[in-house]
Amino acid sequence: MTRYSIVSLARNALSHHEHWPRLWRSPEPKPAYDAVIIGAGGHGLATAYYLAKNHGVTSVAVLEKGWLGGGNTGRNTTIVRSNYLWDESAAIYEHSLKLWEGLSQELNYNVMLSQRGVLNLAHNLHDVREGKRRVYANQLNGVDAEWLTPDQVKAFCPILNTAPDARHPVLGSTLQRRAGVARHDAVAWGYARAADARGVDLIQNCEVTGFDIKSGRVEGVVTTRGTIKTSKIGCVVAGHSSVLAGLAGFRLPIQSHPLQAMVSEPIKPVLDCVVMSAAVHVYVSQSDKGELVLGAGIDGYNSYAQRGSFHVIEAQMGALKELFPIFSRLKMMRSWGGIVDVCPDASPIIGKTPIEGLYVNCGWGTGGFKAIPGSGFAFAHTIAKNEPHALNAPFSLDRFVSGALVDEHGAAAVAH
């Protein structure tokens, strides 16, 4: 791996930047690996990287149906934060945020983490109580969190309409200053490059069509490019988790829904923080290119079509205009949908399955991007040791039998 530095930049400038090496190899699949990860999105690539780095498991293949980072990793609104309510969630999301903070150095790849602060607005008395409760819970868990009064919100984000007679009055807001946004593609590419450098095979255009399971234990995976022998499979396929679980013969408590996002035409810098409002289903930030990046709530029906209904966007745009009157004449350039894997308690599933050697990492629903480093870290441990890390033990599949749910609908901040 060519290490990126001022020296390599200068050296490549001499050859007009025409000879930069490729970020990763494109190997043919080998007949067997120690571990196979299905899905080359952020979570899958991070898992492969930490398997190689933390556990010395380098005979790893990451299989991807399409292209690397082309699913929800490339379709989200890139928000990174850790202000979740319960101890279990705070632990894994905060661990993830700490990994984010050192990620560009660790991967030698600029993931453009911008800790510009995330506001979660309160529009009614219930929002205020829930917001304060979450701030206090965060503080007890060592997660930075503040409660802002309406005047403080106005000072932090002057273009917000905080008038008392507004359609969606701002009665206060939580603020996590260490939260922010990151470059979505860079995270996938950075982990891919670093995993490849440690010997992980990244195999694109390779769809999994079945599992080789004998007496309740995985022996291999059947793909469009042949059968690959392995005793450990990590399944990290977001919206398609139920489909792959079906191939392995078990059911998940997951529903796949479209989640839509959009970007505006580029404008001059006007919004230097991230604003989220769960009550009216708006979350917005401004990218370095000047575009507003906006997200809506999920569509109510199940879908695998990577598109949603227009009225969801209409409701979101209406609320955006009420909150930010300055955006009223802004044109939207494009919108898209991703298929998110929604869990009943808005928390992920990371752990073992009824099949020995088959592990799942799914259920991140509307908010998986922020968790990529922590999720990969914990899932790699689970696969390598055949037992969950303390961080992901509470997020096992059998919590839906025991009833020990981790209800994060409030902190998830996207309408489910």
Binding site: S242, Y304, A305, V401
Partner: protein, 94 residues
């Protein structure tokens, strides 16, 4: 946006409706007798098919009645609308 043919009101915009999730999930007849596993099946586990799904819809801003829909989750095409209590039309009696 979906155009949904309510069996009582005729075709209406999706914004008048609410999706109630997978249909034909029967509550266990003797709740005290079932295992935790069976409760998990009833409460949480779902088929979530990539293909034809049988799901419930509620005409919230219309007749306020429930009905069932067969829909393809790959294309959003509505294949069949049928009344609550009727068996799933694309499968034999189970």
């Amino acid at each position: 946006m979906l155009l949904i043919a309510c069996p009582y009101c005729g075709p209406r915009d999706e914004i008048e409706f609410r999706c109630g999730g997978e249909a034909h999930i029967a509550r266990p007849k003797e709740p005290d007798a079932v295992t935790d596993e069976a409760w998990a099946d009833y409460l949480f586990r779902r088929d979530n098919p990539k293909g034809v799904i049988a799901e419930r819809w509620f005409h919230t801003y219309g007749c306020r009645r429930w009905f069932n829909v067969l829909r393809d989750t790959r294309t959003h095409a509505i294949l069949k609308v049928y009344r609550m209590g009727a068996p799933r039309p694309d499968r034999g009696p189970s």
